[in-house]
């Protein structure tokens, strides 16, 4: 009788967790991208990316969105603009200062539905400065991977002003506004 009660509690607890916490996905770095663009010489944008991203997403649109959350970490050393000299300069104290601030991180604090898409608000820590940002998030479709694992994801787009993050070098020749796209694919845990 006692073991039956324990089993019942365990089942109810796991149901409760699913209902309130949503599904948790671990970011698959191979199929996720972090892309940024910034205006050069006032002409047009050039694009760069970070080759690595890690993090977790807990998301369940059908349940309570307030229980959903997203956390990402991007190593600055993974920066790639297809030009080694430029990458080295961008990692220097003039810009990202990778030796002092080796990671960029984001932690959501609010997710709300806006029709087919979502607004994700959270804190972005870049160059040692933490500021609130809001991203437009478009959810992807759920699918099964080659090993039968469940995959899901989506794409977030937002814009930051780099001087807000104390990254003020070369404003003029290089724009102050930076457009960022974070496209993540996660594997259900």
């Amino acid at each position: 009788m006692k073991s039956f009660k324990l089993i019942l509690i365990a089942i109810l607890s796991s149901l409760g967790l699913t209902a309130y916490g949503g599904d948790t996905y671990k970011v698959d770095p191979v199929h996720s991208s972090v892309i940024f663009s910034i205006k050069h010489s006032g002409v047009t944008d050039f694009y760069g990316n970070f080759r690595q991203i890690s993090g977790t997403v807990t998301f369940d649109a059908a349940a309570d969105l307030s229980k959903s959350s997203m956390e990402f970490t991007v190593p600055v050393e993974a920066l790639d603009t297809r030009n080694e000299k430029r990458d080295q300069h961008l990692k220097s104290p003039d810009f990202f200062n990778a030796a002092q601030f080796p990671t960029i991180s984001f932690k959501s604090n609010k997710i709300e539905a806006t029709g087919d898409t979502y607004k994700i608000s959270g804190d972005l820590t870049l160059h040692g400065v933490t500021k609130p940002v809001t991203a437009d998030f478009k959810k992807g479709a759920e699918s099964k991977g080659q090993k039968g694992e469940i995959r899901n994801g989506g794409e977030a787009r937002f814009r930051i002003t780099r001087s807000d993050f104390d990254m003020k070098f070369m404003i003029g020749p290089l724009g102050d506004d930076v457009n960022i796209i974070v496209s993540v694919e996660g594997v259900k845990q």
Binding site: H89, S92, A99, G128, D166, P173
Partner: protein, 279 residues
């Protein structure tokens, strides 16, 4: 042209502030003026110039390089007070050593956080702190041996110019700009020469600490070669070599040339080992 636009406002400001503070020396007693106003001029001018380069700085600053304006003021007060009082030499060295160790601990926080073990970090701090104290002792000896008012500012300007060049070549224009600001502060203090007053030992803590901090930042956070950093830090050493020429200006010229040699080598090494920013 962009580089000039980026560098000029801060350097001009630092120069004007240093010249303004030093101008007080023209209206104040000579003995006290050159001891107290020299370090204050350079410290305050550097602090203001630094803020011109990077903008407002939070406290505590996230970027440890932004401790430099605070350190400049602390070192300036230390330099001014040691020049105005009769503190014993060993006590001055001890106080400066403690300030240097504290400054290095603040500057190298990210290395303690992400790179080194605690023991490894403190070994680095102790070694670099000893090097800064050694540089201060060398500069102190030079201030006592200088024969013309322009001698010490000239050596400091040569070192600042080399530090600026080496840092810019090592991938950080920002740190190079800060070295330019320090050079501009020293240049502004040339106002003192109008009364044949040289920069005396009071400026030693300010200059030693700021130059070393810039070189340490260049080595650990940019790509300044260790050899370049060491050559720039100890560039004043050849000026201690006795020069057997009769004229005081010719002997100063030779000593300035000797200081310029390691500086030129340091810049060349930085040029050879770092990729230019010509993308």
């Amino acid at each position: 042209m962009f580089l000039l636009k980026q560098i000029l406002p801060a350097t001009v400001m630092a120069m004007m502030v240093a010249a303004g503070v030093c101008s007080l020396a023209l209206f104040w007693g000579k003995e006290r003026a050159h001891g107290v106003l020299g370090p204050l001029a350079i410290g305050i001018a550097y602090g203001i110039g630094h803020l011109f380069v990077v903008g407002p700085v939070s406290f505590p600053p996230a970027d440890t390089t932004n401790w430099l304006p605070y350190l400049a003021l602390a070192a300036a007060v230390l330099g001014a007070s040691s020049a105005a009082s009769t503190i014993k030499a060993w006590a001055r060295v001890l106080i400066f050593a403690l300030v240097s160790v504290g400054a290095l601990r603040l500057l190298l926080r990210p290395k303690f956080q992400y790179g080194w073990s605690l023991g490894e970090g403190w070994v680095w701090v102790a070694c670099l702190g000893s090097a800064i104290v050694l540089l201060a002792i060398i500069l102190d000896a030079l201030t006592r041996r200088s024969v013309t008012a322009i001698e010490i500012p000239a050596y400091l300007l040569i070192i600042c110019t080399g530090t600026m060049g080496a840092l810019m070549l090592s991938g950080s224009v920002l740190l190079g700009q800060l070295a330019a600001v320090l050079g501009a502060a020293v240049f502004g203090s040339l106002v003192l020469i109008a009364r044949q007053v040289g920069l005396d030992r009071g400026i030693v803590p300010v200059f030693s600490l700021l130059t070393s901090a810039l070189l340490v930042s260049g080595y650990f956070f940019a790509a300044l070669p260790a050899t370049s950093a060491a050559l720039l830090a100890f560039a004043p050493v050849p000026a201690l070599i006795p020069v057997g020429t009769p004229g005081r200006f010719s002997s100063f010229g030779i000593r300035a040339g000797l200081v310029a040699i390691p500086v030129a080598v340091a810049v060349t090494l930085a040029f050879l080992s770092s990729p230019p920013l010509d993308y």
